[in-house]
Subunit: 193 residues, 4 copies
DNA sequence: GATTAACCGAGACGGTACGTCACGTCTTTAA
DNA sequence: TTAAAGACGTGACGTACCGTCTCGGTTAATC
């Protein structure tokens, strides 16, 4: 299933080969795992996908738009933890975040997209979209806490999402401070009333 | 005044022309304002500074290291606000942050450094340094609050710094959510006990 | 009227639209005048002729085969001059050659066909055909001279054709020497006994 | 020794590596022999010569200018035959021409240059130069004939050069007529008084 | 009248080559 | 040894054509 960034196709002429989007995205995902965002050149990608470069440029505005689709395709929808309490859920959630976000092959993807989105308004929008999508799990946990009465009715979910994810991002990308369980614990204690 | 990233110089032979570091940094600052981080190529910079490329590489490991020095040189040390209360100080501080960070010419510099620091350990360290330096104002405000008794003695300054700056960074770089006074107000209310 | 290069068509199914050959050749002629042999891409030609690319390839082996048909269609059969003497006829003939061959829009067509015919045997044959066709006027002049007794019975018409046309071609394509009336006069004097 | 097409170099900065022109030309000659003018891509040439593409573009305006230098470098100055008589010399000369020009690896080079020179004035001039250089042997034979008294003092050397070489070129490139000893014999007989 | 097969415009497709640009290093002359 | 200048190898970029293919739809001759 092609991402939202794919351009609309005209009605006339040969239709775009179905599944090619997916094949290209898959090849890109493979390469991202092997060589990272650096090293993911359009030539290499085209070759790996068994596709002409023009075919890629026909479907995506830029490499970055494509990579956003890769992210969408790759990230299995992390299951919302359900431990019965907000604290438990947040603990499980942050543990997962630390694992995923802390290191790994693709850790250079997001930084690259952030930088690229400075020069590309469409990409900016796509990245915003993606970011908001990735908030859903955390939002769900907090909203359930409100429903259960663990959190006050006027609990500022938006703000907590910004601060929790923000703290992670800030430490990971800027201050270089470690992301670990101890930090998560302090953070959880801090944002809960 | 050249930054700390400048390599040590040997003792023998012709001494390095004094002030060349500064001239190069100045030219880089100029170009950053004109063409942004994209468009700041080493060839262009060398030409603008009236300098050979080798001269730049002799003094900095990379373009990014140099740009960090540019940041150091450019950012006048924001004066710590002193309104008498933590709330007042934080309000003044966030207002300044919104102004500076929200938009502007150089808003693509930090994203670029973040991305580049994925592939360059030295740069990673430099950027961490820079980030921590930029925390000092906020830290001072909070510490003074503790001294004045406005904040509890065990107030987790580190964590608040991470969450406040993190929330700003996250909205600016990822979710694209607006940075404005309303948000600042909610954020301040949230992090104060 | 479509040239001899058009492929044979099968009997069954929808017959080829009559006049499409001519329309394509006309569009090609137009484009040759506007953008020359460079710039005459198949995509552009198809678009201009309001035709699918496949339709062109169905009728001609290559762009060059098509262009030969264009030449056939364009070049009105130069009337054989008849001044009463061989010298007069040759003078008229060479004057016409200088005008046509010397410069003009389409002066890049022949060189292109020559080069292309190095890699395409069919085109080679077509070009040979075309070249021999274009010899007829000169041959007629010389043969008439023999009939009238102005030229000896064993006059080597073939050779004179080769040398006269060869000299023109050589100067035009290789040495870059000028083609003018003075040269023609010397040439005529030289080849007549 | 680099060809006449090489651009002048500035005095300052690193001088161009000596012998690199020659190395590139040699690689090009090699490739021309292996893959012909088609197949001689700039990427391939750069790779074979162990050189960056930019280095080639720095020294030659186009692939064709370079190839002219290749021709200059390759064609060993054919020794002017000296049999004692003009007929003998011309016979030897035409035999050599038939051998060289008739077929062979590089037979697509000249046609390509001819076509390319339609769109490139500088190349046009270079090709003219080259063509005139290649006339010297034939001119020498004829001039010696005049000195020896075999040919009249007012013998039109220029014109004979044009017709002889022209006839060869015309048959080879346009009419496709065969180049052989019989034709040479007729041609020689024709141009001698 | 239904079927069939080639035609048609449009444009996607896998390739290949192009010429440019930036990188970081090297090599000259001069100070 | 530093400096300005600029050549060097490398490798990615995005574009342009090529000749083929695949759609939906059309048009005649055949069944």
């Amino acid at each position: 299933m092609p991402g939202g960034a794919t351009k609309p196709r005209p009605v006339r002429g040969r239709p775009r080969t179905v599944g090619l989007d997916a094949a290209i995205v898959a090849a890109a995902a493979e390469l991202l795992g092997e060589v990272g965002m650096v090293g993911l050149s359009m030539d290499l990608l085209a070759q790996r996908a068994g596709v002409g470069k023009a075919t890629i440029y026909r479907r995506w505005e830029s490499k970055e738009q494509l990579v956003i689709d890769v992210l969408q395709a790759i990230v299995e929808p992390s299951p919302t933890p359900d431990t019965g309490t907000v604290v438990g859920d947040l603990t499980a959630y942050t543990r997962m975040m630390v694992e995923r976000f802390g290191q790994g092959r693709m850790s250079d993807v997001l930084p690259h997209l952030i930088e690229a989105s400075c020069y590309d308004d469409q990409l900016r929008a796509s990245l915003d979209d993606y970011s908001r999508q990735r908030q859903t799990t955390l939002r769900a946990i907090l909203r359930r806490g409100i429903e259960r009465g663990e959190l006050p009715k006027d609990y500022d979910v938006d703000l907590v999402v910004d601060t929790v994810l923000g703290a992670f991002v800030y430490r990971r990308l800027m201050s270089g401070a470690p992301l670990n369980e101890a930090f998560s614990k302090r953070l959880i204690a801090f944002v809960l009333p």
